[in-house]
């Protein structure tokens, strides 16, 4: 209850800040959409030159991308750790967070919520609907609960990976970290992983499991039986990576000594 009250207070605060910079609010939504459009453009351009990508048709690849957008939108809304080490460690705001009773990670995430990102999730659902209809996929009763469970598991995977990487800033003093670089590879899980060589497949499945935020879960709806087992594993991978993230974070906070001064 206490935590729900906090969420409400932070959201009110968020709206106040955002309304101060109203024009930027719209530009930000627009730039998020443009970023998604980039990836769609990539798919459209690629399929002008080929009719399948490793045995997957254009509609299937679009559907996978639509799925990918759903957890990605939720993730970007609630787990926004960009510039964590600069703001909280270098500038010392972590000390302020630690003097408060609520869990420190929870506070930091709330301070950085970004609701406009959810627009992407809705567009993802629309893309899934359109490309699904093109392929003649029928909506079945289990699709909706499955989508909710899989999407939340995918969010958990994302969260686990990014929290793990961010918690590295408790251990090392690099100011920018590798987050911006991860940004570039996070999307690759949405292409059929089978086109990559073994090493990259293993990497995207077990090390930084971005394949579980795109292709594997989406394959369940596409009736791609070869990936069903992987799709079923999504919640497990989500729990494992989510826990790793949280453990490393908590351990890192314990080691945290402040930035001096």
């Amino acid at each position: 209850m206490y935590y729900i009250g906090l969420i409400w207070e932070y959201l009110k605060n968020y709206m106040k800040t955002r309304l101060t910079y109203r024009a930027d609010f719209w530009v930000e939504i627009l730039s998020d959409l443009l970023f998604q459009a980039t990836n769609l453009i990539f798919i459209f351009v690629v399929f002008r030159h080929t009719d399948n990508l490793g045995g997957w048709s254009e509609s299937e690849v679009l559907f996978v991308y639509g799925y990918f957008m759903v957890p990605y939108g939720i993730f970007s809304c609630f787990i926004n750790l960009w510039g964590f080490s600069e703001r909280y460690i270098v500038k010392g705001e972590m000390d302020r967070i630690l003097t408060r009773p609520a869990h420190n990670l929870f506070q930091i995430l709330l301070e950085n919520v970004d609701p406009p990102a959810l627009v992407g999730s809705f567009i993802g659902l629309v893309i899934m609907g359109i490309s699904g209809a093109e392929m003649g996929l029928m909506l079945e009763w289990w699709h909706i609960p499955a989508l909710i469970i899989l999407a939340l598991s995918s969010v958990l995977i994302y969260a686990g990976i990014y929290i793990t990487l961010t918690s590295l800033s408790f251990y090392s003093d690099a100011p920018t970290g590798i987050l911006p670089l991860m940004y570039n590879i996070q999307g690759y899980g949405r292409y059929p992983v089978t086109i990559y060589n073994r090493a990259i497949q293993v990497l995207l499945t077990w090390v930084i499991p971005f394949a579980f935020v795109g292709i594997y879960p989406a394959a369940l709806f596409l009736e791609r039986s070869e990936m069903h087992r992987m799709a079923m594993l999504t919640p497990v991978v989500g729990l494992v990576f989510g826990s790793i993230g949280l453990l490393l974070w908590n351990y890192g906070v314990k080691k945290y000594r402040g930035a001096g001064s």
Partner: protein, 264 residues
């Protein structure tokens, strides 16, 4: 005066050196990027021998050299400038006898040289080992590419400075900076070479400055543009470099009149 600019460059280089761990991880991630695009393009090529004037081998080279060029020209001048404006420290810059935009460009160059030596060159060596990259044999391609790479840096930095200075006018330009990043990656030909876009889109991209950042140098390096053609693509870059000086200087002059420090 010139030695002051040189010092800004040198100090930035040394600052980057202190945080070089970032760049070791950068090499890894850029290589992974190249790898993923390499396999994606392999799957797209399938059995077809040529797409948009690129053979599969040229595409591999193009992907590798484009990402590695990005490793060199990329910088965060836009964010740095926006931060200076937002926290008000830009006010100090107005009373200094040195042009702030020039200082930023020199810092960017210091960072660029660092990235060239510690990220681009080692990264390229690894890419050559891992993927079938075909290096050009003609010396003109190498010289042309290196000169054009320098202009890529200049044009990209100019665009960054313009985006950063926009913070004077819109107060919070976070969204604009994100948008710029997306536009540059897409329209520069980093993600897809411009000749593969549908006709009308590539026509639009050819009249925009972004192609000068990645696509044109990449075309020289892969040998799609050779001989005297190199002079004309270099000409396009020089053209955009000169053209972009105008908005950059105008915005800077306007900005000095509009200074509006928020808080602090």
């Amino acid at each position: 005066m010139n030695s002051a600019f040189f010092d800004f460059m040198r100090i930035r280089f040394l600052t980057m050196l202190a945080y070089r761990v970032n760049y070791y991880s950068g090499i890894l991630i850029y290589t992974l990027n190249i790898g993923v695009y390499y396999f994606t393009w392999q799957a797209i090529y399938g059995s077809s021998g040529e797409l948009g004037g690129f053979t599969a081998a040229q595409m591999t080279t193009y992907v590798a050299v484009s990402w590695m060029a990005r490793a060199f020209y990329f910088n965060n001048l836009d964010r740095e400038i926006a931060a200076d404006i937002r926290d008000g420290s830009i006010a100090i810059q107005f009373i200094r006898p040195i042009n702030y935009v020039m200082v930023k460009m020199m810092q960017g160059l210091g960072e660029g040289i660092f990235r060239f030596l510690l990220l681009m060159i080692p990264g390229m060596l690894i890419a050559i080992l891992l993927f079938p990259v075909e290096l050009p044999t003609a010396p003109s391609a190498w010289i042309g590419f290196l000169v054009m790479l320098f202009f890529s840096f200049l044009i990209n930095s100019q665009i960054n400075v313009i985006t950063g200075l926009a913070a004077f006018f819109v107060e919070n330009n976070e969204g604009m900076m994100r948008m710029k990043r997306v536009v540059v990656d897409l329209f520069s030909g980093l993600i897809i070479p411009i000749s593969l876009y549908p006709g009308w889109m590539s026509a639009v991209m050819k009249v925009l400055p972004f192609q000068a950042i990645t696509y044109l140098p990449g075309s020289v390096f892969t040998g799609r543009v050779e001989g005297t053609g190199i002079w004309s693509v270099l000409g396009i870059q020089v053209f955009w470099f000169v053209i972009l000086l105008v908005p950059m200087m105008l915005i800077w002059r306007q900005a000095r009149k509009r200074l509006f420090v928020q808080g602090g």
